[in-house]
């Protein structure tokens, strides 16, 4: 998983969707907070190049950005009532890392036009 921050929360995408991380702003990028419907938090930013459907797109995220292995047993489907009512787009799983939730999102859904 590649972990990143957005709107004061911790998110992750499967590492196979991430081609690179940039430390300077590219010409075109979408803010993760904008895609997720969150308010941006001040702080250092990074840009993840995500490839979805053969198209590479840049997403601006908040630090820290980390490549991390998360045990399968710590990755859970969203509970049914949460899945039905949560308005957060693209959430596919909730992982727990050292007792803190990591929201796993699907970049295919997140970046769908």
């Amino acid at each position: 998983m590649v972990r990143f921050g957005a709107g004061g929360h911790t998110f992750a995408v499967e590492a196979r969707h991430v081609r690179a991380m940039l430390t300077t702003a590219p010409e075109q990028a979408r803010q993760a907070e904008d895609l997720l419907g969150l308010m941006p938090h001040p702080g250092p930013r990074r840009w993840l190049v995500m490839e979805t459907g053969g198209i590479a797109r840049c997403v601006e995220v908040a630090e820290p950005v980390r490549l991390q292995v998360i045990d399968a047993q710590d990755i859970h489907l969203p509970p049914p009532l949460l899945a039905a009512r949560l308005t957060l787009p693209a959430l596919v799983a909730i992982a727990f890392d050292h007792g803190a939730p990591v929201l796993v999102v699907d970049p295919l859904v997140l970046l769908a036009e």
Partner: protein, 179 residues
């Protein structure tokens, strides 16, 4: 034994004692009558209950993790020994007045119904009790319209009328957006 047992001493005879006991015994309980277990809890000043078979656990001091995008009726998620469960705010679902935050004695009931499981925030768990099925009366006509489909009946308990809620219906309606 050196107690004074003269008739004027105020000591009751056995017949009198037994008569008093018979009078205080109350109605005879038919032990063969089917009973239901209820988990009685409080939201503000209102008393409610779920059928005991629907409540798997009562959790206290369980950290709830807020997730972005939760409506006010969803408090977040909890980690129950490795299983992730949602936590719904029953007070919001039932449209009861807010009390300014969770009380110190608040609990999370881990409920199960309609193939789903979720935590349910309540202010206080009062009791877990067995009541005869016949003690559960049909809901009164004066009950709020929005509550009517969710209420199985009412039962008197400790000078309160306890509203017995249908957990399966609550879960189903909440999932489909009806609540």
């Amino acid at each position: 034994m050196t107690d004074d047992i003269t008739p004027d001493s105020g000591i009751l005879g056995l017949d009198q004692v037994l008569a008093v006991k018979r009078g205080a015994a109350g109605p005879v309980v038919d032990v063969d009558e089917p009973s239901v277990k209820l988990v009685v809890f409080v939201l503000g000043t209102d008393w409610f209950a779920f059928h005991g078979e629907r409540i798997k656990e009562v959790l206290s001091d369980c950290p709830v993790y807020f997730l972005p995008g939760c409506p006010t009726s969803l408090e977040g998620v909890i980690n129950v020994r490795g299983d992730i469960e949602s936590v719904i705010r029953l007070r919001v679902l039932l449209r009861l007045a807010e009390d300014g935050g969770a009380a110190s004695g608040s609990r999370i009931l881990l409920g199960q119904g309609a193939g789903m499981r979720s935590g349910i925030r309540v202010d206080r768990v009062e009791d877990v009790m067995d009541v005869p099925q016949s003690a559960i009366q049909p809901p009164p006509h004066t009950i709020n319209e929005h509550l009517r489909p969710l209420v199985l009946g009412i039962v008197p308990f400790q000078k309160h009328m306890v509203t017995v809620l249908d957990l399966e219906r609550i879960f189903l309606d909440y999932r489909t957006g009806g609540l």
